[in-house]
């Protein structure tokens, strides 16, 4: 394995995000994780949809697709199924992944396609200048909820668990070392991995700020990630049961299960073997 530095994955153009945006933390954590894993640049594909955070592939010296809104997961699944040797990472926002593209996450999770899905969850539509998102808290005011949102937010962790994801975690873009470790573990995990990242939008979300999160988050300790029901209980802590209270971050759940891409390629290989034994 070649030794790598985070800088090996940088390009010579700076990100276009607002100063202080949570996406910087995610970008840095991803580069660190890749460097620690020593992954060759040409064997990594970073796929995204549309939104501020979906610009991320452009700041990576890797292969990548910056696709259409909400469809990053099927694009990434196609890449992985075509060439399972590649490390395929999906990034995007909460609108992209939990709104318009939500069903793709559910199906990728139940199929257990070997993808690492990093969601930059800022609880607002940023690129379209500040509308409500699927993770906007009830009562929060945005451009489209001037009197406060009357919707309950999606609970991404509980949803991923229910869908059958084999690796479910939450990170915070204000804690890059912790996030980098989660991403590294998620990439190493064989199967569908969701990392929901609390990632403040400094321009359009004046409620869920870095300080707001710092006062609430705590690291999951003494929690056994192999215990599904325990993971589910932890998942309900926020935002389902207590929208303003304590927020656990870390690895909620992890289990080994055959991957879809692995099964598909095993079958193809079996046919290759059958054909070659037929011809001899």
């Amino acid at each position: 394995m070649k030794l790598k530095k985070p800088a090996d994955y940088t390009v010579n153009r700076p990100p276009i995000w607002c100063p202080g945006c949570g996406d910087y933390g995610i970008l840095e954590a991803l580069r660190r994780a890749l460097a620690e894993l020593g992954l060759p640049n040409e064997e990594v594909v970073v796929v995204s949809g549309i939104g501020c955070s979906s610009q991320l592939p452009h700041f990576m010296k890797t292969y990548g697709i910056h696709g259409i809104h909400g469809r990053a997961i099927p694009l990434a699944a196609g890449v992985k199924l075509a060439n399972p040797k590649l490390t395929v990472i999906v990034v995007g926002g909460d609108g992209d992944g939990y709104g318009i593209g939500l069903n793709h996450m559910i199906h990728a999770a139940r199929r257990n396609i070997d993808l690492t899905y990093i969601v930059s969850n800022n609880q607002v539509y940023g690129l379209t200048t500040g509308q409500m998102s699927p993770t906007t808290l009830r009562g929060a005011t945005t451009k489209t909820t001037p009197e406060g949102s009357i919707e309950d937010p999606v609970n991404p962790i509980a949803l991923a668990l229910a869908a059958g994801a084999t690796f479910v975690a939450r990170g915070f873009s204000g804690d890059v070392p912790h996030l980098a470790a989660l991403i590294k573990e998620a990439i190493s995990h064989r199967g569908f991995a969701l990392i929901d990242v609390l990632s403040p939008c400094v321009t359009f979300n004046k409620i869920n700020t870095y300080d707001w999160f710092r006062g609430r988050i705590y690291r999951l300790e003494g929690h056994s990630p192999s215990d599904y029901l325990e993971a589910y209980k932890k998942a309900l802590e926020w935002p389902t049961l207590d929208p303003v209270g304590k927020i656990p971050i870390g690895l909620f759940y992890k289990v080994e299960r055959p991957t879809y891409d692995g099964e598909v390629w095993n079958r193809l290989q079996r046919w290759v073997n059958t054909m070659s034994s037929d011809s001899t």
Partner: protein, 536 residues
């Protein structure tokens, strides 16, 4: 020698199985066969579904005439009443106690087998040929009792029914395939390695064949959660360097438009099998139509190059598909293979030449590149730029749906009209080169020139009545060549198509091509040779 048989009865009672067995029987006897199924969107019911079989000792292309047929097998009262008027000879409960023979020697549901026994007597087909198909279709005691019913009905009919033909083996056995199977086979021969499709009539049989046979040939086949996922997966696979395709019908393709444009923008090859059925909305899901042409010509917002190829007859399918994959890769763009229910679901005896396939992958970056210098979207005269594939060192780039520069960097965070100007023109320029590869229509001159595209060519090929024909396969971009002269020379140019508004006629007119008259059919039955006689 030419013969048309219509097997009619309630849907779900083995009409299709009977038709298929008969089609196989005649194809093995060396006849050319074409089978078409008229059915409804119900699993069991619909008292008047039928399977029409057109049989000949020469090459045929369609299901034959619609209003007159040589033999009707009517397995219930409703279908006898509905179709008796067109039949020269009839096999039904009236002519032979089908139900009694079936019940006595097998079970009541074997009425269709009893009818096949009667048919073999009537047409002078050795019942052993039909027995062989029964034994391929059924197993064990079911096969035994079906065979028993077949022979008992045959014996009864030999005594009581007139013999109208003596159909012996006329040549070597032919291969019988459906249009869908032919397209799927073509895709495999063309080196396709990824296929994603959400079930939808009449494209599903392509998926079924590939699910069964694809993996043997290294094809990854997936049934995703929806059509949007299907095409995005195929684009992902195409980006990763494998030949990829999706299959759907109009409603599914509606959902794919946005990603179809993505393929155009990021210059990733992808092939879409678009099998039309009656629209709009859910429309007439089990009946044929050619009403998605306009959609295929302009399939998404914005401008980008794409190609439309519509195979005209069943045998042509595999080569048309291979061309679609070659064009997609050489020009790095999305290609639509435009067919319809009449094409995918019909059965035909086919000739197949495996040596006719040549894989052209276009400009691929082979071997390592210097990342600092590599320009994935390099401005070139042809509009095509060498494509790198993930895994290639130094070839890293981001394929972005935003407008981008030569390196693939997004430019939409700034105002860069000069970059937009040349990059958009580069993509659009590819169409000029593609047009040179488009094949002119198949033409046979005549005072009246009957013009068709895609599957409507099939009845026109069987209609040999002195009219000229111009049959288009390569639809968009429109091929160049001398064919326009033939149009101008003809006294009357009649465009024949399966939609209400005359979409192809409009398309030709918009390109300044002479069109004198339109013949349209849009009520869910295929166009037939006898109708062509009336309408041309």
């Amino acid at each position: 020698m030419e013969l048309t048989i219509r097997i009619a009865g309630a849907q779900g009672e083995g009409i299709e199985t009977t038709g298929r067995m008969l089609a196989t029987t005649f194809s093995k006897l060396g006849y050319h066969v074409f089978g078409f199924r008229q059915y409804a969107s119900i699993i069991k019911g619909n008292p008047t579904m039928f399977f029409q079989l057109h049989i000949s000792d020469r090459k045929i292309y369609s299901h034959g005439p619609w209003k007159k047929y040589d033999l009707l097998i009517a397995l219930n009262k409703e279908s006898l009443a509905a179709y008796e008027g067109g039949a020269r000879h009839v096999i039904s409960e009236r002519e032979i106690p089908l139900a009694d023979i079936a019940a006595k020697y097998g079970s009541r549901i074997m009425k269709n087998t009893a009818a096949l026994g009667a048919l073999s007597a009537l047409l002078g087909v050795d019942p052993r040929h039909i027995e062989a198909e029964i034994r391929r279709e059924f197993r064990d005691s079911i096969a035994e009792s079906n065979a028993e019913v077949l022979y008992k009905a045959f014996e009864y009919s030999e005594k009581n029914l007139p013999k109208v033909r003596q159909m012996a083996k006329v040549g070597e056995s032919h291969v019988l395939m459906s249009g869908a199977e032919v397209l799927a086979l073509g895709a495999v021969m063309a080196g396709m390695q990824f296929y994603a499709a959400y079930p939808m009539t009449p494209a599903s049989p392509i998926l079924h064949w590939l699910a069964e046979h694809g993996p043997k040939h290294g094809v990854v086949v997936i049934q995703p959660e929806d059509e949007i996922a299907a095409i995005n997966m195929a684009i992902g696979a195409g980006y990763a360097g494998v030949r990829a395709a999706v299959g759907t019908s109009g409603g599914g393709f509606d959902l794919m438009h946005e990603a179809f444009g993505l393929a155009g923008m990021v210059e990733v090859p992808v092939v879409v099998f678009l099998a039309q059925r009656g629209g709009p909305s859910t429309g007439v899901p089990t009946e044929t139509e050619q009403s998605d042409l306009k959609m295929a010509l302009a399939p998404a917002h914005g401008e980008f190059p794409h190609v439309v190829i519509a195979p005209r007859w069943i045998d042509e399918g595999p080569y048309a598909v291979a061309k679609a994959f070659n064009i997609a890769e050489k020009y790095q763009l999305p290609v639509i293979v435009l067919v319809d229910l009449y094409y995918t679901e019909s059965l035909a005896t086919v000739e197949f030449d495996p040596t006719r396939f040549k894989i052209e992958r276009g400009e691929l970056l082979r071997g390592p590149a210097v990342w600092e210098e590599y320009k994935r979207y390099k401005i070139t005269e042809s509009g095509v730029s060498p494509r790198s594939i993930p895994g290639t060192p130094g070839g890293m780039y981001i394929a972005t749906s935003d407008e981008h520069d030569e390196r693939g960097d997004v430019i939409t965070d700034r105002h860069l009209p000069e970059v937009r100007k040349v990059m958009h023109a580069k993509r659009m320029r590819k169409l000029e080169k593609v047009a040179e590869e488009m094949e002119p229509p198949l033409i046979s001159e005549g005072e009246v020139l009957a013009v068709a595209w895609g599957s409507t060519s099939m009845p026109l090929l069987d209609y040999r009545n002195g009219v000229g024909i111009a049959l288009f396969r390569d639809i968009y971009p429109l091929p160049g060549g001398g064919w326009v002269e033939t149009f101008n020379k003809s006294k009357e140019v009649v465009v024949v198509e399966m939609n209400y508004s005359g979409q192809f006629a409009e398309y030709l007119t918009s390109r300044g091509i002479k069109v004198s008259r339109k013949v349209s059919k849009w009520w869910g039955e295929p166009l037939s040779v006898d109708e062509l006689g009336e309408w041309l």
